[in-house]
């Protein structure tokens, strides 16, 4: 026992001497310098951006700084609270807050704030000088989105110009689309067989571009079915889509001069759940023995299940969607497919209305501009001219 005590005492003596003999290594890292706080540009006024020069102890060979903490206060001498942290090597932080006053993280615009940046090691830290005051304020226009604004204005002008030309009677050529040319035959087949037509608008909302295009096609098909006295069934998976579809089909029957034949119960809501909807539509296909199935709109994983069931039932099938991942299934399992933008073009091709034709022509002109930009851009990039790319760069 005495021996153990003597050993421990000796160790303590040695440690004491070592502590006195060698200077203690300073564990605090060098602080960050040149801290700047300023309003974050192009935002809604609830954020301040803090930048700093990295600590001298932040680098590949001096990895003792592991992170930077950003602290904020209402006054330069007040209490600073931690607002966020970034890993070592980063020298920017956006101090964001909520815009709702009730939110506990509300960021007050037009108010002075002071910032400090703390360089942290695993067991120590050092703080920068206080920076500020800085105020957050919102901008009316997001300059980083200027290309979007220019694109929108240009495209709108093009659409209006082409609509105006179409209204003045200018004839516009639209190339034939195989899927749409087959519509008349498909309706004729259903009429001859005395079986109904099934029209699926997909799973999109009423505001999806594909669904809107599908409404236009539905209107034309409803008109033809009314002329041929053929039943059309439109099961929907969205209540608003169902309401618009009812109006669309009713207008088609009215155009055909057969409003008496319109039956609202044939355009109905099933469910909003994807696969429950598919199960019900599959049942309808087999029980009603539909002669022709149209799948036009926004489709997801259900596309192949629907198209396969229709194929088994022996229906003629015409499909179209702008969902790239689903097009292969429609190509494989249906008779005609409208690929992507062909769906939008089909509504103009069928309707021949100035509004739709004008929009289609404007799209073509926009595509021509994009093609020229691509060619020039690729050439510019080949010669290392970066300015061209900046024209299309959008900051979000």
């Amino acid at each position: 026992m005495k021996k153990t005590k003597a050993v421990l005492f000796s160790i303590l003596i040695i440690l004491f001497f070592f502590n006195l003999s060698f200077p203690q290594e300073n564990l605090s890292p060098l602080p960050p310098t040149e801290v700047r706080a300023s309003d974050t540009p192009n935002d809604n006024g609830h954020s301040i951006t803090v930048t700093w020069k990295l600590s001298g102890d932040d680098g590949a060979d001096k990895k003792n700084v592991v992170a930077y903490e950003i602290l904020r206060s209402d006054s330069p001498t007040g209490e600073f609270i931690v607002r966020g942290m970034v890993p070592a090597g980063n020298n920017t932080y956006q101090d964001r807050g909520a815009k709702e006053k009730e939110d506990k993280n509300y960021f007050h615009p037009h108010k002075d704030f002071y910032y400090k940046v703390r360089a942290k090691t695993l067991n120590s830290y050092s703080e920068s000088e206080v920076a500020g005051p800085a105020q957050a304020y919102g901008e009316w226009f997001h300059l980083g989105k200027l290309p979007v604004f220019v694109g929108t204005v240009t495209f709108t002008i093009m659409v209006l110009a082409f609509i105006s030309l179409a209204r003045k009677g200018k004839e516009f050529y639209v190339r034939p689309l195989a899927g749409i040319d087959a519509v008349d035959d498909a309706i004729g087949r259903a009429t001859e067989m005395g079986r109904p037509i099934l029209y699926i608008l997909g799973l999109g909302s009423a505001a999806d571009i594909a669904t809107i295009a599908s409404f236009t096609i539905l209107n034309r098909i409803a008109k033809k079915t009314a002329e041929h006295k053929t039943k059309i069934i439109v099961p929907c998976n969205d209540p608003i889509v169902m309401s618009v579809a009812q109006e669309t089909v009713k207008a088609g029957y009215l155009d055909a001069g057969r409003p008496d034949m319109y039956k609202e119960e044939n355009i109905f809501y099933l469910t909003s759940m994807q696969f429950a909807y598919v199960a019900a539509v599959n049942g309808i296909m087999l029980r009603e023995q539909t002669a022709t199935n149209f799948y036009l709109g926004k489709f997801y994983a259900e596309s192949l299940i629907l198209a396969e069931t229709g194929s088994v039932a022996g229906s003629i099938q015409i499909s179209g969607t702008d969902e790239i991942a689903q097009i292969p299934f429609f190509v494989a399992a249906t008779d005609f497919t409208l690929i992507g933008e062909e769906l939008y073009a089909a509504s103009a091709y069928l309707g021949r209305e100035p509004l739709l034709l004008g929009a289609l022509k404007a799209q073509d002109l926009a595509k021509a501009i994009v093609m020229i930009s691509l060619a020039l851009g690729a050439l510019a990039a080949s010669f290392h001219l970066g300015f061209f790319l900046k024209l299309f760069t959008v900051q979000m």
């Binding site: 505001a207 809107i212 309401s243 469910t271 429950a276 190509v331």
Partner: protein
């Protein structure tokens, strides 16, 4: 209780699978159950996740401008009364018009500008043949694909040739996408089989 749940899920799975043979009463029962439960579930979810937090809570908190949305909602319900049902068109027009307008800029950025941005790449990368070929494929594929979707001109001559090249590019990418998705569907089938043979019957572990 858990055992009953497993049995119900397994029998309903078999009921839905029975459609592969032909339409039958068992499938009809499963289909009706599925549709009914999902529609009811959707109603309850919408009530608690949309109606209550987005409308009722805001009205209770005194934010009465939310009444504008409520009025448009009520207009939709007027479809139930044929004489004044036309008023629902105002709500439909508002929903379709505003959402389409909001989507416009989003699509312009994601489907237009970002695509162009990612296609502005050098046609020749010095000392890197594979990247040069890759870049050429991207630029030519995009260019010819765009030509295919050009509707104002008949696809004839050189223009038609480029459009045909475009559809080849599209079909190749569709083929790859088809294969990829079929494999992911196989994993769904395996998951279901695993449930039936493992969780239910205990034949596989």
């Amino acid at each position: 209780m858990e055992t009953i749940g497993i049995w119900i899920a397994a029998l309903l799975t078999l009921g839905i699978f029975s459609f592969l043979y032909k339409d039958n009463p068992f499938y009809k029962f499963c289909e009706s159950l599925f549709v009914g439960i999902s529609a009811g579930y959707w109603f309850v979810t919408t009530f608690w996740q949309v109606f209550m937090p987005k409308l009722a809570d805001n009205l209770i908190a005194g934010r009465f401008y939310y009444m504008i949305g409520a009025i448009f909602g009520v207009l939709m319900l007027l479809r139930l009364f044929p004489k004044i049902g036309w008023l629902s068109r105002w709500s439909l027009a508002l929903v379709v018009g505003t959402t389409a307008g909001l989507y416009f800029t989003r699509y312009l950025v994601s489907n237009g500008m970002v695509q162009v941005q990612n296609t502005i790449i050098p046609l020749y990368v010095k000392g890197n043949l594979s990247q040069t070929i890759g870049n050429l494929v991207i630029v030519i594929g995009t260019f010819s694909g765009l030509i295919y979707f050009f509707f104002s001109k008949e696809h004839k001559g050189a223009f038609g040739g480029l459009a045909k090249l475009g559809i080849w590019f599209l079909m190749l990418s569709f083929g790859a996408s088809f294969g990829y998705t079929v494999m992911s569907r196989m994993s769904l089938l395996i998951g279901r089989m695993d449930y039936l043979l493992g969780t239910w019957l205990g034949l596989i572990r």
